[in-house]
Symmetry: C3
Subunit: 469 residues, 3 copies
């Protein structure tokens, strides 16, 4: 069920697309179902922001091998109506014809584990028409309460918050919108659902009382961990869920050999992979499809999104990188900024206050300080002095390109405070003197220089200071 608007999210994005752990919250439950029930036919009930949800799911590389269908719920008439839409769809017909049990899960509960899905979807005993998941919570406000005959007797019905009496409101065992149904019972019962209640909605929870009235048996699975069942309804709950998901991810990685110096201050998205013997300093944020190779060090406050870091590389404090590749034993930062499409070779060095953008840096090349390298290819063993700038934009468009390309071949020595005006090529082994603005290609092994000879005026500084000379 992923059709809700999520008004309390205060956002134009559909609720289930809000991210926790770097994934839309809907994706967490899809991942869990994928691993717990491989191959099962899954219907995603969409409504608000339908196209956005479909596009997001279709666009994620994790789900193409899932048996997924989208079912549209045009009006939001309650959970019972949502499931009815699914059962009346092509997907529903297939399920009924094969008599497959129907697992109903909310799309906004990203903490559900595979163990829960497996237990909830396990075969029912003969005679049971449904299995109901419940949980004891400290504060049951807002949940459907489980009304039982006596204190521990069989379940009678689920009472929604706005239908509950003061006494019922004190019940702490609640329903959490997760069920398993026999398809025939589900179909028949949905047909009989009524919306004669305060909210004029069709409640899926009413199927419990239907089963009771028709003397059908209900299996109850009372889950031990309320945290796992947590739904996300506002940004506060989203942030709590994100913290819990992050804690799980970090613990799993740490047990497998990743050293987090302070786990409390580190964020690792769900899809990130880190090899063993990696050290991650506090404040690191590892996002998207980032991959970290064995023995690498990720310094404090490093932010990596969709970055591949080679084994033994050292990414120092405050480095920010996106959609880039960093070679083995490369040294990056502190405070380097790798914009998309940067490739740094093995044992290369990118130092402090250096910006790369669409730049390929050869092995053992050094860009150690305060430089901007954009739209450029640097060879191997190149030494780039401090204050270097690729002038990749001159305000004009050439051959349809706004930005022009710089090529620096192997073994070039570039002095400090040099600018090269693209398009340009600096040949292998060339030497560019400090302080030069280079506008023409430099042949291999040449020296290029473009600066003015120094003039010194003795005593003139005194004059500038207004002192007697």
């Amino acid at each position: 069920m992923a059709a809700g608007l999520g008004k309390r999210m205060h956002s134009s994005i559909p609720k289930v697309l809000h991210e926790a752990g770097g994934r839309p919250i809907l994706f967490h439950i899809l991942h869990t179902i994928k691993s717990a029930l491989p191959g099962a036919p899954v219907a995603i009930i969409v409504g608000h922001g339908r196209e956005l949800v479909e596009r997001a799911v279709r666009g994620c590389k994790a789900f193409p091998d899932m048996n997924l269908e989208f079912v549209q719920q045009c009006e939001q008439l309650g959970t019972g109506h949502a499931v009815k839409c699914a059962m009346e769809s092509k997907w529903g017909s297939a399920v009924i014809s094969q008599s497959l049990p129907v697992l109903v899960m909310p799309g906004d509960s990203p903490l559900v584990t595979g163990a829960l899905v497996a237990e909830l979807a396990a075969p029912m005993k003969r005679g049971d028409v449904m299995r109901l998941l419940t949980c004891e919570v400290d504060d049951p406000h807002g949940y459907g309460r489980i009304a039982r005959r006596g204190k521990h007797g069989p379940v009678l019905r689920i009472v929604e918050e706005n239908e509950a009496t003061a006494r019922e409101k004190e019940i702490r065992e609640v329903a959490v919108s997760m069920y398993l149904f026999r398809p025939a019972f589900l179909n028949a019962s949905l047909a009989r659902l009524s919306n004669k209640n305060n909210k004029r909605e069709y409640y899926l929870t009413d199927l419990v009382s239907q089963a009771v009235r028709s003397k059908k048996k209900i299996d109850v699975l009372k889950w031990h961990s309320a945290a796992e069942l947590m739904g996300v309804n506002d940004p506060y709950e989203l942030s709590v869920a994100a913290r819990l998901l992050n804690g799980r991810k970090l613990r799993a990685l740490a047990v497998e050999g990743v050293r987090f110096v302070d786990p409390c201050c580190t964020i690792v998205d769900a899809d990130v992979e880190i090899e063993e013997d990696v050290t991650v300093w506090p404040g690191a944020i590892l996002q998207g499809w980032t991959r970290i190779g064995r023995g690498a060090v990720i310094g404090p406050r490093v932010v990596l999104k969709d970055v591949t870091v080679g084994p033994g590389a050292n990414i120092k404090a405050g480095t920010v990188a996106e959609k880039s590749t960093i070679g083995e034993r490369a040294q990056i930062g502190p405070y380097a900024h790798l914009r998309p499409d940067s490739v740094v070779g093995n044992e290369a060095k990118i130092g402090n206050f250096v910006e790369l953008k669409k730049a390929t840096i050869g092995a053992k090349t050094s860009v150690a300080h305060l430089s901007y390298v954009g739209d450029a290819e640097l060879g191997e063993r190149v030494n780039i002095g401090c204050g270097f700038i690729t002038c990749n934009f001159d305000g004009r468009v050439i051959d349809g390109e706004r930005k022009h390309k710089s090529i620096i071949e192997d073994d070039v020595f570039m002095g400090s405070d040099c600018q090269i005006v693209a398009p340009i090529r600096i040949g292998k082994g060339a030497y560019v003197a400090s302080g030069s603005t280079i506008t023409e290609n430099v042949e291999a092994d040449s020296l290029a220089i473009a600066r003015t000879r120094q003039v010194t005026k003795p005593g003139y500084a005194k004059k500038l200071r207004g002192e007697a000379s």
Copy 2:
């Protein structure tokens, strides 16, 4: 009561002026009283650092509409003496003449909520001469214990830590220096207070036993949340209070539609306002009177103090800004530094390792990399290349100003590695070639260039390397 020295703070600043949540701790209780008891006459009892406290309160824009008076306690002779000073002041006379109940609150309890103040200040029953706030705590050490007749009987007296017997020390119900008094009872009782105790102090707590001795009735309000009553006595407690205040602030904002990716690592001062649909990344520190417009994104580790951020702006990782204004949909950072009096226009871009200081940046203007723009006005649609510097200081003072002004008009294209020596004006649409040091004004639509032609010496690099040429 805000007269204490706070020796355990290890600081020359009076205790109540130490900050938590970006406000002096005294201000929190003032804010709470302001909203819970609007218009009530408030006396702030000051002693140590009196002038500092008065100046701070008078200087805060939140309190001018409060009915505030300062009462001086010249010597620190105990809480009873402090209240006596207040009652003997002009404020006290007015209170007595109007027979207003007197609420006594400590100035160092920043977590007190409006709900507590409202309940404590609610009208007393006829016959009650005072209301006493108590609380059960896990570790009562240091608090005045509530001695009762029997276990749950009426209160007999409050026993200070250093007067308590071993048995009394085990009592976990404690007093927390918050009371409501009938003014007549208060006045009469204060006159009878004695300092015959270990510390030679006048204890306000003794009013309880006075009431008991004279068979007056005491109402006891036992508060549920010990955390809310927490006093601050050393920097450790200050930091704990700050965490709790921050947690409250974040939760309140999140429920209203602000997305904190990881609330644990984010700090938002009490006076900051954030609109809905804003995303705040971990490590952000939002201080002072900062305002964030709808839909903006505040990246990881961004530090903003007294900054206004327009709707839809994107402030990227590590940006630090103070007393500045950022326009709608502007892009700032990562690692930009906006010093005071910077104004960035709508859709402008300030990129990595760029420093602004007293700089106005026009709409759609771009200063994308490694630049310093100080004492400058930039027009709209200006393009500033990498490595740009406003040379605003030449070691001399002109017309009384140490720093000189740079003006760059609309649509200027500034190449990379340019410096402009202020005072200077670059006219509309002018073009400055890369690598130029500009010392004279440039007319509109002109090209300015100040660099040396490149000379290339074939094979010379080999010589430099000591290879056979």
Copy 3:
């Protein structure tokens, strides 16, 4: 006992050398023993990575005054075997000859406090042959369980996890590898130890049943804090231990007068010292032997390793420094980078995006923006403009040095965008014009300039834009 491999650490470093709180975990217990039992002869039992462990301990400046010996355990045959190796060593002979009680502690429990060591090592009653430390834990899995006669009767034996029956596994009182032994009993019992168990190891825990069988008395010390006894076996436990150590350190400092704005996000290594009235902002990481002087401010995300900060200095956001010294009231950052061997004088200013390396900066000197100062000595009251670069490397080696030295004497004014090509000296009071590349020494009070005169071409910018001129 520090001989274990620590396979679950997924690392080539021996387990006890992994760091928590900036110290190898072994060092924590050594520090604790040093202060609780000054002068006691200590044997460190080493095995895996023996040389590394010995070198680390010998190399630490905290331990030279300890009475330390290393005992080699060549094969890892269990805890009993480890202690046997120690008793058979020269250290063991001395201990036996002096009849000193033998305290056995694991090397991987960094949270043990001095109070615990003192109680565990306190004199035993006559007749007791050993003292056993136990603790109640929530999850006893993996620990040796304390089997007693009846529920609270005397201890019978310790049952290792893999030898325990289902019933024994439910016991929550566990042993934690900490003991005190009479040396004669220890020696005699070790001789009788057998390895006839599932793991073919000699268990020290078997000494309990030996004592019971021979009707010797065992003293049991049941410790109240399980957290303190925590062992480190994988990177997750290492990170938990590090958090707890950090929390202790911060609390101790805060009570003594250090203000941590948010203690949750701050890391201070065990050996760091901070004076009172210092403010530390969130995200600061203070490492190694860092010292912070009174009244200094450490801004958000500052990373200092082995740095001395003078009183009243202000280290602003994101500054990273290592092996450097910062003078009184100096202003550093935001985002300054001090590489090793930097010395910043009193009241000097190092601003944003400035890198120092082997640089000495005189008092009241300012390097305020985007500069690289390497292998340099700057005098007092020097003003360095934005974009300054010491060109300390020209690709050649001179007199065996790759990097050459720059000297800037007192009162020099260096304009913006200047480079000086080392080796070079700029004399006292000299003035260097903006945009100059300085290649020759500049005499005192001279003006040096090396730039091209500006040429302006009216209307030419229109041409560049392709507009009709």
